[in-house]
Amino acid sequence: MSENALRQHAEQQFAEELEALAKLDDKPRPPNWKLSPWAVIQYLMGGKVSKLEIKPKYIGNQRLMEIAVATLATDRALLLLGVPGTAKSWVSEHLAAAISGDSTLLVQGTAGTSEEAIRYGWNYAELLSKGPSVKAIVESPIIRAMKTGAIARLEELTRIPSDVQDALITVLSEKTLPIPELNSEVQAQKGFNMIATANNKDRGVNELSSALKRRFNTVILPVPDDLNEEIRIVQTRVADLGRALELPAEPPALEEIRRVVQVFRELRDGKTLDGKTKLKSPSGTLSTAEAIGVINQGLALAAHFGDGILRANDVASSLIGAIIKDPIQDRVVMLEYLETVVKERDGWKDVYRACRDVV
């Protein structure tokens, strides 16, 4: 927890906003919540509290956030679904930060996530010397969340092997975690809940059992549905990240962002914005998050190797890198796009030339 950390936790970065909201929030709060549900929504969607401008954390449909917050308020676990890069983890982090003031109780789901990571492991030195005892238990973030009545986060739920996933069922339905070795259990305190995220593009990785599905309310986070909204998201995030990474370049021109977002949208939707030309879609998801990455990388290039102003050739290489995930098929898709759409478009000559140099 230092000022030099590359990336600060949400509750650190937005401590001021959270504090201001907590001070003015007079609505009823569910037990152990730092803010009322209304204030949580305001924290996520942005607005003005007394003199402080609250930055919007989620740019999109407020109704979705309302469902998410209402779900957590009814002590149901929340599952955020969506294709990669639709701000699932971002929303989950900010929800945990706003509700519990702590977004660090995190389990990252991978194919190698074991039951110990979800329940508890053992400190074997302690176990061998003294036998099973409470002291010998290594607690998972979930147990810590249960004990403190906080929000636990579980990333990439569907990547966790099915038998390990099912360890969650007792936690979510009984709100206790038995420790049979000690003949005891951990009981969740009020305020405990879980936010899981999962990616619905990679189907069938480890499909949830219906028993587990039933314990989650799902909220699907969509890809932004209009160009300007997506541009706004990219712009805001790039500005934030640029500050965090201390990039010396000028803030990116809106025009360049607009073009990157447009390229992404057109390829993702398989047609040009005016709906006149049909396009092939590449294999990647081309999410908003990737667009942010492209702009950021372009900024870094411009700052360190260019004249500090974001230009088409600064963006080109990372743009191509983001789109061509499959060296053969995606290359064909991109070339077709460049030759049939970009080449003809007014004022896009620089993009075309820069991209053609790379592909």
Binding site: R63, I67, V69, T74, K213, R214, N217
Partner: protein, 752 residues
Amino acid sequence: MSVHLFGVRHHGPGGARSLLRALRVLEPDCVLVEGPPDANDLLPLLGHVDMKPPIALLLHAKDDPSKAVYYPFAAFSPEFQAIRFALENNASVRFMDLPQAHQLLADPTELVGARHASPNAETESDASSDANAESDDVAADPLGWLARAAGFSDGERYWEYLVEQRRSDEDVFAAILEAMTALRLESKMLEPREALREAFMRQTIRQAQKDGFQRIAVVCGAWHSPALNLEVADAKADAKLLENLPKVAVSSTWIPWTFGRLARSSGYGAGVTSPGWYAHLWDLQDSSSRNVVSHWLTKVAHLLRAEDLPASSASIIEAVRLAETLAALRGSPMPGLDEMNEVSRALFAWDSDLPLALISDKLILAETLGAVPAETPTVPLVRDLEAEQKRLRFKPDATAKNVEFDLRQPNDLERSVLLHRLRLLGVPWGESVGSSGKGTFKEAWRVQWHPEFAVRLIEAAMFGSSVLEAATQKVLEISSLTSHLPTLTGLLDDVLLSNLPNAAQLVMARLEAAAAQDADINHLMQAIPPLARVQRYGSVRQLDTKMLEHVVSGLVLRVCIGLPNATASLSDEAALDLYPHFLELHSAIQTLEQPSLLEAWRDVLQVLAKQLGLHGLIAGRASRLLLEQGVFTAEDTANRLSYVASIASDPNEVAAWLDGFLRGSGLVLVHDDALFGVLDSWVQYLTPEAFIAVLPLLRRTFSSFEPAERRDIGQKVKTPKPISVTRANQNVDNARAEQVVPLISQMLGIPS
């Protein structure tokens, strides 16, 4: 003597509930409802036990049923409840709008304007396009205006928030009257038709006062309510305005209506997007808001379970909690349909859209067909249809359903005939879809009853008073107006399927006459296949095909005579056009299995095969068909090919001939060594220049073969097989073989 104005929104459970409460307090002795007085006689029928909404009042001009207007009512329509209330409490009830006798006269452009202002009436010439055209017109959607002023996205949601969700007993009508008075001040001048309508409404109220009623309740669209205040209107001006209006004779009746037509998505101006949800609210009007929510979500769960989607009771409980929390979070008194849908998505849908589509279709739209009592006056044709439907146990249903008939069953056959007849009458209750079974005795239909069929039936009533009679008359009329052969053939097909013996006779006579006059051999050729099908398989439908046989054989003979001449000099394109008809005709004649026709056809084929100057495509195919028929032996065919492919022939002609001969089947080449040999040696004899000239045409023919066939042919070319004649073993022990015969006969069903 007092007049009480109740401005309502035409369909809305909250409004209907508030209205009923207010009426109970008021105990009126006369209820006036916005609606056409032409139908006053039909009002008592609304109290009938068999009257089940949704229903609509249908009015049409007596001499022109296509000029029609509907007034739909659902159980949750305030007007419907007001009329029922009056009937149950022995209050007098009347419609008070300008009679349709005057309104139906107007020309269509004026009608559109009328529909805007009178959203309760839907004209037949209804088009959804103009519904939004004048969204800034206050009169079209007064509540939309108020809603936008209050920051709601549309009037629907606003009304739901203000009235439908309100479960208290306050009087909302005074507030509505006040709001509308303010709104009307903002609006433009009244259209002349509007002025007429409102004048008539005022006159009706005055008449009711004159008739001595003490407490008069006036139920009208919210927009009109301020105009009906008698204190500010001038009775003499109204009377003058209404003088000498032109009139037309009008018939009216009640017809069953559907929720689908009630929904806005059907283009009906004053529709509601979610009739199922409104019906739900209306049904549960007296229970608590939690009850409404939990009932709805339980319905959702049951629906999903019926479709094999997971939806447990535990999920319902959680769904109710989430819905209530969500409503609280959004500061509304009870969860609305939006919340319900969001909750359903979060709890039941996982990441699929299917459950929500189901919910939207089955619960929110909730396609329901109303019913009207048997006493409702209507035309004899409709009576007859109802009787038929009852007799065949074949009830109209508003939801689309697939049915399959086994035409060997008398009941199924009659149902099929009924559907075909109705189609002829322009009432496509059933739509023929491909049957899954192979048998010709199976027939698959997709049936769905649309309420507008009621009008079509009334239009069709001019043809006759029973379905049979009307269909026959309609066919006679169509057939007498055309001599276009394909049209007549199609009509005859329909007539035979509809089992209209009288009409069939006449259509066939017309057909024969037309065939005699029609010089276009293509028309004749196209006419045969459908008729041949009917004749061949007609027996399943128990049709009398004797007559048909006569017509078909006449047509075939005509074609046989005309074909050699008609094909004498064909361009490539014309030959290509003729080719498919030629094939179809051939298979049609095969299915007829009539020796005399087959004989005539074979003769024609032989003529064609040898005809000089005939396009190669047709000549080649004719030879091939003769080979298949066994008229030409393999040797004959080989001779033919060799002759055609002689050095003297024009290579283009040869290639066209080959195309016709081989198109679509390389198998003959693979298996017929003699034929293959002829072709092979012909190719070998071609000069290099000639070979290059025909190569594209040959390639075109060969590319139509299956890859496997081409591979086999290629294989055969590479490895010339010695021609081997396989011969079955001739040493058969007859005594032993005979022992097997009875069993095989039994298996094949051959009577021994």
